[in-house]
Symmetry: C2
Subunit: 253 residues, 2 copies
């Protein structure tokens, strides 16, 4: 059994606790959170605490709090010879450097409490400060997911940045399209099949090869017509994206 | 029976011909294309021609060529009292104004020849120059798809612009993420579950409410760290998108 203490009460902590509960090889000993929480899906064997001084013995302490609170929380932990890991995509492992044995367990996913998650399908990137702990973390991660990879802090930061493009930035483009639809009393539902096709296409093609549209084919008439329909903010974004596409393919001429 | 002549041999013409073939109420009389084409899935009753002078009688002529060729092709048609429609999202109906009876049949989808398409699920937006032809076009569209809407040229252009954001621009963001992964020897597959979740989320939430990430929460440390990992072109795009997100939510404070 791998004994785990979870520190945090946000969306990731919630889904991690749920996934750990399902594994026969993980003993979720305790959950620490600043304020009171209760997860009804957990068995009685899991303890809760709001005090760092009451932390119980375990093999791994998993910190699931927001990026800007990780280092302070890690520095507040008075533990010896236990591996301390964080779950952030963006933070280097060395923010935990107060401790001797450190690691990272980063699930590449965006979590919200209301949405069910199949943790088995979520890629998990791990990193550890020594080889033996890497094996321990990999064992833990493989209990949670079928897609586990060892990744350095540098690569993990690059991956997290790429994730911002495909998640946060893509969602913002959906928002702009939604705004255009609303302003013109058009149902956003008209765009849903196209949204799905755009994602489905890159299962077969690279995004480079899948690119279509006025910017790709240098169709300046359509680009001009589009710009006239947008407000100044939207124009700025449209032009940045169009220029970026044109540079991507212009270089290939 | 609605008798149709298709003009064009591109991806849309291919998929339209296939969908029309499946309807018992559509008679695909003839396909015109500048160069020779042959669709093995069509029955022998469909004729082919490469000469506009050989066009056969029909109820509807459907132009499926690239935007910049539509007007010229329409002007070359010597027909009387037949409705002429184009299939472009971006062109106004009046590019067909040489003819008395005109219309538009715009499927909101991006087509490629290799990918199978369930036309029944593709939204089709129609427009016609008179009420009776609107009914005729709606009847035709409803034979092809379960999601048909009457939409003016102005609204259709706005919808097409919104489609550029959710399709062409989103795909370009996938390309940038793919580039970051390749440059750092990271598998793009690590991002696929996140890409799917991003799309799945906006089935339940508006994109406005679904927004997360460093720009949304004004996390300047992460934004600075990200910018240092990007080249100048990527930085420019990252900043445009970040500023657009910040303005979207800053206005709400």
């Amino acid at each position: 059994m791998i004994r785990v203490v979870l520190l945090g009460g946000g969306n990731l902590a919630f889904h991690l606790a749920k996934a750990m509960q399902k594994s026969a090889r993980i003993d979720l000993v305790q959950i620490y959170n600043r304020s009171e929480i209760y997860y009804p899906f957990l068995e009685n064997s899991t303890h809760y605490t709001e005090r760092l001084s009451d932390l119980m013995p375990a093999d791994i302490y998993v910190i699931c709090v927001s990026d800007n609170a990780v280092e302070e929380l890690a520095n507040s932990l008075n533990i010896n010879n236990v591996i301390v890991v964080h779950t952030s995509g963006n933070l280097a492992m060395n923010v935990l450097s107060k401790h001797k044995r450190t690691g990272v367990l980063y699930p590449v996913q965006s979590f919200s409490k209301g949405t069910a998650v199949d943790f088995k399908r979520i890629p998990i990137c791990i990193e550890a400060s020594n080889e033996q702990d890497e094996i321990l973390l990999l064992t833990l991660a493989q209990e949670l997911s079928e897609h586990c990879t060892v990744l350095s802090s540098e690569k993990r930061q690059q991956l997290h940045l790429a994730a911002v493009f495909v998640n946060n930035f893509v969602n913002h483009l959906y928002h702009i399209a939604d705004t255009l639809c609303q302003q013109n009393q058009i149902s956003f539902d008209l765009l849903r099949p196209l949204i799905n096709t755009t994602v489905a296409k890159i299962m077969d093609l690279t995004p480079y090869d899948a690119q279509t549209g006025p910017a790709r084919r240098n169709d300046s008439n359509t680009i001009e017509a589009h710009l006239e329909l947008l407000d100044i903010e939207q124009q700025h974004l449209y032009q940045s994206l169009t220029q970026s596409i044109q540079k991507t393919y212009g270089n290939q001429l």
